[in-house]
Amino acid sequence: MSLALALFILLAILLIILLAWAMRPSKKLSLTPDEVLATLSEERHYARLPQILQSLREDDTDFLLDRGRGELMSRLRDERRRIALRYLGYLEEEYQVLLEASRILATLAPELSAMGEYERLKRSLRFVLLCRYLRWRLRLRLQPWGVFGSISDMAGDMTLRLEMTSARLGERALMASDFPLFLEKGRRDSH
């Protein structure tokens, strides 16, 4: 059998598998319009990153080892790893909520940019994969709580950007005060 023929058969089988996958019931996030608006007007988890990063620094707990409290140190590190994992979960959850909001918006939009949607899809796939990778590393204790680079610089950069975003979001929230009603109507009509 030639390669081209084999490829055709494989492609057909792949299509059947994809069809079965696309037919699976999806884990639907039931977002209320208020939640959608909240995603646009609230800043939730970003600000905690500097503390999380700080807690993951090895030298933050090294002093316990110096004082002969090795057991306490490892317990503390385990605890902090759990917190980091939870933080990661929050980040992912928040990302999913934002994606869900963008989907709701897309159903109401008169025109969508294919490139914009593609970029969003690409970014979300990357985000999910990286999240899993990080979680996997944390769970397997591959994170040795080592040097984290210039945390303060990073935090400073982050704070600056957050302030800018928050300010913009505040303005947007004021502008979009009728947005929940608008979405609520759309959702009611679509169900």
Binding site: I16, A22, Y95, L105, T107, A109, P110, L112, F179
Partner: protein
């Protein structure tokens, strides 16, 4: 061989019977009001069966007349199937103007690319030209439907049970037809009867699915179009979408910070 021919005749008879049952359900459930293209497809498929049976009886399976009539009718059926698939796509996405505009372009470009690719790699052998073209079109339909479902899944669009089952039937039929045509191209005339029978059986399976879908369709069920009654202006969407994108990017950058931290450590 005689057994195989008898089996083929039986399969033909069964197909025609199922098509009549499907058509009667379409009339009884008044599905023709909402699914004109699908109804047209059923009528054309039914007429094809009758026409091919007459041609087979009068000209014999090896005659050129039979060949021309059978493949000519098949071309009409494929065109009608395309119309039915596009109808499903429109029903699914039409209420979401932004998604429909974007998806229709992508779906048609993807379909055209698959068609061009299939024809290009099928080497211009005249004896296989028709099966190659047939396979290309079927593959194109399969890709179109699967992409449509992926869009629906990504945007969490509601699909009515009727449209879902009709589309699944079309997709499975097309995929099996692609496999069937490919096997025929490899094994040649030695499997021609088997090729024909397996083609008929895949149609039978799809017909059963469609009968079940149309039979369980109730008037309010299939006439309910789940579309948002409101839409936003392009400017509103642009602003909100940009805001969402900036938040998504921000979260992405948080993750990158975590990752970079890890990298710098290791």
């Amino acid at each position: 061989m005689v057994d195989a021919l008898n089996l083929r005749n039986l399969a033909w008879a069964l197909t025609t019977l199922f098509e009549i049952i499907l058509f009667s359900y379409i009339i009884h459930r008044r599905v023709y009001r909402t699914h004109q293209a699908f109804t047209l497809y059923c009528v054309v498929a039914l007429l094809q069966g009758v026409l091919v049976a007459i041609a087979y009886r009068y000209f014999g399976s090896q005659s050129i007349q039979y060949f021309n009539i059978a493949w000519g009718a098949q071309t009409l059926v494929v065109c009608a199937r395309w119309l039915a698939v596009i109808e499903i796509a429109r029903k699914l996405l039409n209420g979401y103007s932004g998604i429909w505009r974007m998806a229709s372009r992508i779906l048609f470009v993807a379909g055209a690319m698959i068609l061009a690719y299939s024809m290009a790699v099928s080497r211009m052998r005249w004896d296989l030209m028709i099966t190659s073209a047939d396979r290309a079109v079927e593959l194109c339909i399969g890709v179109f439907i699967v992409s449509l479902f992926l869009f629906a899944r990504y945007y969490r669009l509601a699909i009515s049970s009727l449209e879902r089952q009709l589309a699944i039937g079309f997709c499975l039929f097309s995929c099996f037809w692609v496999i069937n045509d490919s096997l025929y191209q490899h094994w040649g005339n030695s499997v021609s009867v088997l090729w024909e029978i397996s083609g008929i059986f895949s149609l039978l399976a799809s017909l059963l699915l469609w009968i079940s879908a149309v039979r369980s369709a109730t008037q309010p069920h299939y006439s309910t179009v789940r579309i948002p009654a409101v839409s936003m202006s392009a400017r509103q969407y642009q602003e909100l979408s940009q805001e969402l994108d900036s938040r998504l990017k921000l979260l992405d950058s948080r993750l990158n910070h975590l990752l970079r931290s890890e990298d710098s450590r290791s």
